[in-house]
């Protein structure tokens, strides 16, 4: 039977202070376990990009506190055997569902070589948004894991969906 461990299990608000605290916990874990340099940097990269995405792209729920309680932002890292699984979740507007789906499907349709090309092209043409994102996060995730990005949408109501994503970092 494969070993199983939960490294990070966060459900609740994700702001800059929470991101710092999660990354510090991850850094401590990485140091304790003395992971090899490639795994340690990839795991850290995935955590930063996922948390940044939730922080920058989670649609504003200020006026929807009930939904926030029922569908909180989520960030989980598990270790299953030698592999790491990252799960994220956040509420998005229904109107953004198609855009996210198309972006991930496009990335998932490429092999690793094409993803590298896509990354270079995106780097040249990226524009930094008001929220400070370059729109490169998903490509970096696909590049770092070498795996397809798994995702799902759960309908909350006509206006909102819960966007869940799963990444696997294989040894």
């Amino acid at each position: 039977m494969k070993s199983y461990d939960v490294i990070i299990n966060h459900k609740g608000n994700i702001d800059l202070a929470v991101i710092d605290s999660i990354l510090l916990r991850l850094k401590n874990y990485i140091q304790d376990k003395q992971l090899d340099i490639v795994t340690r940097k990839r795991l850290y990269t995935l955590a930063v990009e996922c948390l940044d995405n939730i922080y920058k792209h989670a649609d504003n729920l200020e006026f929807h506190q009930d939904m926030f309680v029922e569908f909180p932002p989520r960030f989980i890292i598990e270790k299953i055997g030698e592999d790491y699984m990252i799960h994220t979740g956040n509420v998005i507007f229904e109107k953004n569902k198609e855009k996210i789906t198309n972006k991930i499907n496009k990335i998932n349709s490429h092999d690793q070589n094409e993803i590298n090309k896509l990354y270079k092209r995106a780097l040249m043409h990226a524009e930094i948004s008001d929220k400070g994102g370059a729109g490169l996060g998903l490509i970096v995730m696909a590049r770092s894991t070498g795996q397809k990005i798994k995702y799902d949408f759960e309908k909350i109501n006509d206006k909102f969906f819960y966007f869940a994503m799963q990444l696997t970092l294989k040894k």
Partner: protein, 135 residues
């Protein structure tokens, strides 16, 4: 002549720009809270300075080699965009007769950091000098 000296923090790199020593250096981690506030002034300064010395370089009045050292441990995707913008400025210097050398440092075993450097090098079509360091 503008000298830049930004101290490193947990989230942002040390940046040194010393035109007298023909040196630009970026070292550490880069995931600044406000990535635009961090990089825009830096990029503006570099552009302004190099635009001002292109004439001298074109007229062979100064043939010193400008060293650009990247000693990064980690940078997020938004920082990658700005690093690529800096490299485009650097390449533009070269295209205008300024002698440059780009040194890309990576830790022993950190193949991803080396690969990112190779990607940047390919992107601006200028060879980097790769330097492996042991920690």
């Amino acid at each position: 002549m503008k000298h830049i000296n930004i101290a490193a923090t947990e989230k942002s790199p040390r940046v040194t720009f010393d035109p007298k020593k023909y040196l630009f250096e970026m070292e550490g981690n880069s995931r600044p809270e406000n990535v635009r506030d961090f990089f825009y002034p830096l990029i503006d300064n570099l552009k302004e300075y190099f635009d001002s010395i292109i004439y001298k370089a074109n007229h062979k009045e100064d043939e010193s080699i400008f060293n650009f050292n990247f000693k990064l441990e980690y940078f997020n995707s938004a920082s990658a965009k700005f690093i690529s913008d800096i490299l485009v400025i650097v390449k533009n210097c070269h295209d205008n007769g300024i002698k440059i050398k780009i040194n890309w440092y990576f830790e022993d075993g950190d193949e991803d950091m080396k690969e990112v450097g190779e990607d940047f090098s390919e992107m601006i079509a200028f060879p980097f000098n790769f330097i492996m360091v042991k920690r």
